[in-house]
Symmetry: C2
Subunit: 188 residues, 2 copies
Amino acid sequence: MRITVDLPHAYRLINHGPVTLVSSAHGGATNVMAASWAMPLDFDPPKVAVVIDANAYTRQLIETSGEFALNIPCRAIAANVLKAGSASGKDLDKFAHAGLTPFPARVIGAPLVEGCVAWLECRVLPRPDNQQRHDLFLAEVVAAQADDRAFRDGRWLFDDENLRTLHYFGGGSFAVTGSQFEVNGDNT
Amino acid sequence: MRITVDLPHAYRLINHGPVTLVSSAHGGATNVMAASWAMPLDFDPPKVAVVIDANAYTRQLIETSGEFALNIPCRAIAANVLKAGSASGKDLDKFAHAGLTPFPARVIGAPLVEGCVAWLECRVLPRPDNQQRHDLFLAEVVAAQADDRAFRDGRWLFDDENLRTLHYFGGGSFAVTGSQFEVNGDNT
């Protein structure tokens, strides 16, 4: 079940550095691309930073709409993530190509991606110098949801291997997020 | 053994979103802090983006020296990483507090951290608006090394559990990077 994530907890959805799917829309067109270069930028209001290549079709949709979503995929859809990272939405329907299904966001116009385990809806903070020189987009998170089998009460649960988030090394090589462990800082 | 990582491969050291230790130095003072909000920004020349809180002692050292290193810690030193994230270098010798040992970098003045599995030496790209509004530092990677038990020929090897990199959830809770797997994009 998809549950609302309180905005001050939204950074926890990407604090551990997972792969993201960036979804976008403008004027009836939609797209989805894989992005590993994304991170939290602030807690409350939550902000994120993400790198979107100048040649990506997603880039046009984000620059015209001023919105995007970060969808956090899991082990079960790793092959779809790779496909979403391996063709341009300029040339084909990327959702169909990657075998991914969109569903409506709560606040923004861009669709969200079914089968992911968390979703952050974002509005771009205009920083033209970052965008032009570094392909770097800063954005405020305006809504967040999670699959309650994977994230509940502000914490990730990785009991189900198929629902674990992903980390990308390049060349089609991923890892899942490993098992959680606690340290108390006293064993130095 | 520490080996040189070719600069065009340096982004691979942090592409999967691991926790970092940010080390810095200026005028005889050194410091080290934990940072999860770091990501690659460009391939070649390699660049990185990292968030450094305005109240961090590290921030003063980076702003005056224009340099820092991203050290990539592993499972074996997770408790030290937590300690490095839980006190201010203003008040104590953070290396000693965290049980971490510095060693000289190759290019920059900031020290590197023993026991980590990769090291990126960075020079700040002056972006005052990002630094002041968002605590966001962009930097060019000018040298990179790795422990060849963990990263070799441009690829991470996670055979040894103790040498696996870390992902941070907050509240003292980490995960190691899980086992790698390949997908071919055809099983959608």
